[in-house]
C-alpha cells in the first residue's frame, strides 16, 4: 500500500511538474531566510548525545569545535575555537591554545575550562549507541566508560578521564591519547566534540564537574539530558525554537567572533522544516518556499524538468560517504536458522572456501546492479575504503562479472565436492530495502543458472530472505547470517572508520564474519614493504594487526606509510574475498538558483548556512 502511494506520488509529481510549472516567476523569496524542507526531525540538541545527521546539522550551525574542515577538504583542518595546536613527537598528546574573545550565545566567555569540561562530560555521559565510543577508544583504550569503570571502579575511571583531558595553562587544554592515532583531528572536527559553556551546563543541572557521582549523568535517555532541547553555542547561529516534529528555527548570531570568513553569517534566519511527504516538499520547492529539499533517489527524475528549465540547480552526482556491501561469513554460528549446506548436510563453514567466495563475486553483475538499483549513481570499490579517502587504491583490481569464471570457481570449490553434490545458501537483507533485494535476487539467479551447466537435477539452491531490521541486526551480530547486505555511513573521513567496521575483530560487520575460522594465514607485504612477512594464527589476527598498525602510524600523508598499510588491507579484502563487490553511492543536492555559496564537503552532516547567501 505504501509503495503504491509512493509510486502514485512519483507519477503524479512528474505529470504535474511537466504540466504545471511553466511560467513561475524566478524571484527570490524570503531573501534573508534560508528554508530547508527535510524528511526527518532532529533527535536532540545535546552535542555529546546526538549521532544522526539531522541533529548534527543543527548542532554544527549552533556550536563549534576546536578545529574545522578547511573548505572542501576533508583531511586539512583550520583553527576554529582552538587558535592553534601542537602534537607531541610521539603523536599521543595534543595541546590546544584556546581562542580568546569568543562569547557563547547567552553571554558567557569561552575559556579552557569550557573546552576540558565539554570533552570530560561527553566521555562520562557516553550514551549507549552514541558517538562517544569514537573518542573513548583512542583516549582510554576501552569501548565504553562503563567498561573502564567495571575494571578500575567508578572514581578511578572518572579520574582517568580528568587526567586525559585537562587544562594545562591559562589558555591551553591538553588531550592525551592512550596510543597515537594519526587522524584524531578528524574526530575533533565532528559535531559530537562541540564546545559547551561549563557554567551554563552546570546551572541547567548537568554534570557538576566532580568525580563522586558522575554516574547520575551517565548514559541518559535523550530527554533526560539537560541539554536535550536547549542550546548555547559559540557558532554563527543561535537557537530560537525547536518545535519538535515541525521545525527548527535559528537566527544569526550578530555577536559572532567571526569564524572562518572573519564575518558574521549573511543569511539572517535558518528554518529547517520537517516535511515527510515527498509531494509536499516538491510543491514547496516549486512555490519557492523551500530553498533546498531532500530528494530521495527514486524521485530525482521529478527534479530534472526543473533543472532543465533553469528553475533548480543540481550539484552532483557527487561521491558520497556511504558504501553498500555484501558481507560473507566464513563460519556461520551453529544452530543458525540460515545454515548453509553442502551436499544436503549442514556446513557452517561452507564459505570458508576461497573458490566459493570468489565465485560469488564473479557471479555478481555489478554494472546491472548499479544501473537498476542506484540509477547508475554508484561506483564499484575494490577494497573497503571509498574513493577520496587516504588508502583508496585506484589500481586495486577486483572481480569482473563473468559467469564462466564463476563456473570455474564453483567447480574448484571444496575440491570439486560442491560441483558434484551441490549447496544451499541463504542470501539475506533487511526488509523493505529494494536495492538490496535486487542485488540478492540477481546473485540468486546467476548462481542457480549454474544448474543448467551440469547434467542431472538442480543442486545449487539459493534462497533470498528479507528480515525485519532488528532481527537482521541481531542475527548479523551473532554470526548467524551467511551472506548479508548492509550499508555503512562513515563517521569521519578517514580510512580507519572503514577498515575498523569491515575488518577489525570488534568492527560492526567483521563481528558477524568470523575471520578467525581461517587459520594459519601467510602475509607477504606488497605495498607496505617495511612490514615483516609472517604467518598469523588466523585471518582475523592479520587484519587486526594491520588495522592497529595503520592507526598508530604517525605518517598519515598521501604516499606515506599509513597509506601503504591501507593499500595492503584493501588488497587482502579483495584477495580473501571478504565481501561481494562494494559500491560507493553518489549523492545529489537540489537548490533554488538564487542560493549562492554552497560547496560540497562530504564530511559536513548537512547545510552549513554560514557560507550561504541568496540573490
Amino acid at each position: 500500500m505504501k509503495a503504491v502511494w509512493r509510486w502514485g506520488a512519483l507519477a503524479l509529481s512528474l505529470v504535474l511538474v511537466l504540466g504545471v510549472t511553466s511560467g513561475l516567476a524566478q524571484q527570490v523569496k524570503n531573501p534573508d531566510t534560508y528554508i530547508e524542507a527535510v524528511i526527518g526531525d532532529l533527535e536532540t540538541l545535546d552535542p555529546a548525545w546526538h549521532y544522526d545527521t539531522a541533529s548534527a546539522t543543527a548542532i554544527f550551525n549552533i556550536y563549534e569545535t576546536l578545529v574545522f574542515y578547511d573548505g572542501e577538504a576533508i583531511d586539512k583542518f583550520v583553527p576554529m575555537l582552538a587558535e592553534s595546536w601542537t602534537v607531541s613527537p610521539d603523536g599521543s598528546t595534543y595541546t590546544f591554545k584556546i581562542r580568546k574573545g569568543v562569547k557563547f550565545h547567552q553571554g558567557g566567555d569561552l575559556t579552557p575550562e569550557d573546552v576540558a569540561y565539554s570533552f570530560q562530560r561527553a566521555l562520562l555521559q557516553d550514551r549507549s549507541g552514541g558517538p562517544i565510543h569514537m573518542i573513548i577508544e583512542h583516549v582510554l583504550d576501552v569501548a565504553s566508560i562503563d567498561e573502564l569503570a567495571k575494571k578500575v571502579g567508578d572514581a578511578q575511571a572518572c579520574q582517568q578521564v580528568l587526567n586525559a583531558i585537562r587544562v594545562t595553562g591559562p589558555d591551553t587544554v591538553e588531550i592525551k591519547l592512550a596510543s597515537p592515532f594519526g587522524p584524531f583531528l578528524q574526530i575533533l572536527a565532528g559535531s559530537w566534540t562541540s564546545i559547551i559553556d561549563k557554567e551554563w551546563a552546570i546551572a541547567r543541572g548537568d554534570w557538576d564537574g566532580k568525580c563522586d557521582n558522575w554516574r547520575k549523568w551517565w548514559d541518559p535517555k535523550a530527554e533526560d539530558s539537560k541539554l536535550f532541547d536547549v542550546a548555547n553555542g559559540t557558532g554563527p547561529y543561535k537557537l530560537v525554537k525547536w518545535d519538535k516534529g515541525k521545525e527548527l528555527i535559528l537566527e544569526r548570531n550578530d555577536a559572532y567572533w567571526g569564524g572562518l570568513a572573519k564575518r558574521p553569517a549573511i543569511i539572517k534566519n535558518y528554518i529547517r522544516k520537517v516535511v515527510p511527504e515527498w509531494g509536499t516538499r516538491l510543491a514547496m520547492f516549486e512555490a519557492g518556499d523551500a530553498d533546498s529539499i531532500d530528494v530521495p533517489r527514486p524521485f530525482v527524475a521529478a527534479m530534472e524538468p526543473l533543472v532543465k528549465a533553469g528553475k533548480a540547480r543540481m550539484h552532483g552526482p557527487l561521491p558520497g560517504s556511504v558504501m553498500q556491501s555484501a558481507f560473507i561469513n566464513f563460519k556461520v554460528k551453529e544452530g543458525s536458522a540460515y545454515m548453509p549446506k553442502l551436499g544436503g548436510a549442514d556446513k557452517p563453514d561452507l564459505l570458508l572456501d576461497l573458490n566459493l567466495r570468489r565465485a560469488l563475486n564473479y557471479c555478481f553483475d555489478t554494472a546491472t546492479y548499479i544501473k537498476e538499483s542506484w540509477l547508475g549513481e554508484a561506483k564499484p570499490i575494490n577494497g573497503v575504503i571509498i574513493e577520496g579517502r587516504l588508502g583508496y587504491n585506484p589500481e586495486q583490481k577486483g572481480y569482473e562479472f563473468s559467469l564462466a569464471k564463476c563456473e570455474e570457481e564453483l567447480k574448484a570449490a571444496w575440491g570439486g565436492k560442491l560441483w558434484s553434490d551441490g549447496m544451499r545458501l541463504v542470501l539475506t537483507f533487511n526488509q523493505g530495502n529494494i536495492a538490496r533485494r535486487f542485488a540478492a535476487e540477481m546473485l540468486e539467479r546467476n548462481l542457480e543458472e549454474m544448474n543448467k551447466k551440469r547434467a542431472g537435477r538442480p543442486i545449487f539452491s539459493v534462497d533470498v530472505l528479507d528480515l525485519p531490521w532488528p532481527t537482521y541486526l541481531k542475527a548479523m551480530d551473532a554470526g548467524e547470517l551467511a551472506v548479508f547486505w548492509v550499508g555503512w555511513l562513515e563517521d569521519y573521513a578517514h580510512p580507519h572508520n572503514w577498515v575498523h567496521p569491515y575488518m577489525f575483530r570488534t568492527g560492526s560487520f567483521a563481528i558477524g564474519q568470523n575471520f578467525d575460522a581461517l587459520k594459519d594465514v601467510e602475509f607477504k607485504p606488497v605495498y607496505a614493504t617495511f612490514l615483516e612477512a609472517k604467518k598469523y594464527p588466523t585471518l582475523q589476527d592479520l587484519f587486526d594487526d594491520l588495522v592497529v598498525k595503520a592507526k598508530k602510524e604517525p605518517d598519515q600523508k598521501k604516499g606515506g606509510r599509513a597509506e601503504k598499510i591501507y593499500f595492503e588491507l584493501n588488497r587482502l579484502a579483495v584477495e580473501y574475498a571478504i565481501n561481494i563487490q562494494n559500491i560507493q553511492l553518489q549523492v545529489r543536492r537540489y537548490e533554488q538558483v538564487w542560493v549562492k555559496g554552497w560547496f560540497y564537503n562530504p564530511a559536513y552532516p548537512g547545510t552549513y548556512v554560514y557560507w550561504l547567501s541568496k540573490g
Binding site: 565510543h133 535517555k221 530527554e223 532541547d229 516535511v275 515527510p276 509536499t280 541486526l473 548492509v486
Partner: protein, 342 residues
C-alpha cells in the same frame, strides 16, 4: 437519561484498561531487539550498543512487568515519553490534538451542510439531471483516493497558483507567537486569531486550512450525500408525507418540516461517527499538507513501534469513541422522541 450517561461513563475505565492490555499484548509479540530499533535506526557502531539500549529502556523485562510499571505511571498521571514526538505522551496529545480538532471542525461544517443539503436535493429530484449529477459527484468522491486528490490540489493551488500553502501557519505568524505578540489561548489558530482580534492571522490560518478541509471533506460529503438521499427517499414514500401533500401543504414545508427531520435519524448517527472518523482518519490529509495533527503523529509512532505513543493514542481513541457514541445516542433521542435512553 442521566443514569444512562453515568452508566456509560463508568464503563469507560474498564474499556480503556482492556484496550491497553490488548495493545501491550500485541507488542509483547515483538522481540526486545525489534522494539529497540526505535532507539537505534542504524547499524550499531559499538559492540554492546543494542544490549545497553534494551537494558536501559527495560525492554528485556517481561511484558507484564512493563505493563505494571506503565500502569503505575498512569496512576501518577504520567503516560510516558513519546520518542516520536520527542515530548511526554500526554503533552504530545495536547500538542497535536487542537490542530486536528480545528481541522476536523472546519471539515465537519461543509460535510454536514453540503452533504445533507445535496442529499436532500438529490432525493427530492430523484432521477432528474441534478440527481444524476449528484450521484456521479458522490461516486467520484468515494472512489478518488485522498492522496491523489490532495496532491492534485497541492500542485495546482499551491505550487502553481500559490494561493493555499501547506502547513498550519506562515513563518511570520510563528515569529509573532515566539515574540509573544500573538497569544495562543486555545491552540487553534483561527479561534485564537479572533480572540486576539487579528484578522490577518485568521486569514493566514484559513488559507492553510482550505485545501486540507476540502480534501478531507470531499469523501465524507459523498458518503453523507448517499446516506441522506436514501433515507430521504424512504421517508418521502411514507404515508404521513403523502397525507401532508394531500392536505395541500407547500412542498417546502413537506420536505423541510415533515420529511427531513425523520430522514435525519440515520444521518445523525452517521454524522456523529463521521466526526470521530474525521479525527481518526486525517492521517493522509495531515501528511500531504504537512499539517501537524494527531493523525500524522500516531501513524508515525505506529510505524516506528513507539509503544507508549501508540498506547496513549489508543486511550485517546477509546475516550473519543465512548464519548462520541454517547453524544450520538443523545442526539438520536433528541431527534426521535420515541427513543428513550434507559
Amino acid at each position: 437519561m442521566l443514569a444512562y450517561i453515568i452508566r456509560r461513563l463508568l464503563l469507560l475505565p474498564f474499556l480503556l484498561l482492556g484496550v491497553t492490555i490488548f495493545v501491550f499484548a500485541i507488542f509483547s509479540l515483538l522481540s526486545p531487539e525489534m522494539r529497540a530499533s526505535l532507539y537505534l535506526t542504524d547499524v550499531p557502531k559499538s559492540p554492546d550498543a543494542m544490549q545497553r539500549i534494551i537494558h536501559k529502556y527495560g525492554l528485556d523485562q517481561p511484558i507484564y512487568i512493563q505493563y505494571w510499571q506503565w500502569l503505575n505511571q498512569i496512576i501518577r498521571g504520567d503516560l510516558g515519553w513519546s520518542k516520536t514526538a520527542q515530548r511526554p505522551v500526554f503533552e504530545a496529545l495536547l500538542y497535536y490534538l487542537p490542530a486536528t480538532v480545528e481541522l476536523s471542525l472546519w471539515a465537519m461544517l461543509p460535510v454536514i451542510l453540503v452533504g445533507i443539503w445535496l442529499g436532500i436535493l438529490s432525493a427530492v429530484h430523484q432521477d432528474k439531471l441534478i440527481d444524476h449529477t449528484m450521484r456521479v459527484f458522490a461516486l467520484v468522491g468515494w472512489s478518488l483516493p485522498t492522496f491523489v486528490f490532495g496532491l492534485l490540489m497541492l500542485m495546482y493551488f499551491y505550487a502553481k497558483l500559490q494561493w493555499f500553502p501547506p502547513g498550519q501557519i506562515s513563518d511570520w505568524v510563528t515569529r509573532e507567537v515566539i515574540n509573544g505578540t500573538f497569544i495562543r489561548y486555545t491552540q487553534m489558530y483561527t479561534i485564537d486569531a479572533l480572540l486576539n482580534g487579528r484578522l490577518d492571522v485568521f486569514w493566514d490560518s484559513l488559507r492553510h486550512l482550505i485545501m486540507p478541509v476540502i480534501t478531507l471533506s470531499y469523501v465524507q460529503w459523498a458518503l453523507l450525500l448517499r446516506v441522506t438521499r436514501s433515507s430521504m427517499l424512504e421517508t418521502l414514500r411514507q404515508e404521513y408525507v403523502m397525507t401532508a401533500r394531500a392536505k395541500g401543504l407547500k412542498e417546502s414545508v413537506v420536505i423541510n418540516k415533515h420529511a427531513a427531520r425523520n430522514a435525519m435519524i440515520p444521518v445523525a448517527t452517521m454524522g456523529g461517527l463521521l466526526l470521530i472518523g474525521l479525527l481518526n482518519g486525517v492521517v493522509i490529509t495531515e501528511t500531504i499538507f504537512n499539517y501537524p495533527g494527531i493523525g500524522r503523529w500516531a501513524a508515525d509512532a505506529a510505524i516506528r513501534l513507539d509503544i507508549l505513543s501508540v498506547v496513549g493514542f489508543t486511550l485517546f481513541n477509546g475516550v473519543l469513541l465512548v464519548v462520541g457514541n454517547l453524544v450520538v445516542d443523545l442526539l438520536y433521542a433528541f431527534i426521535d422522541p420515541r427513543v428513550r435512553l434507559e
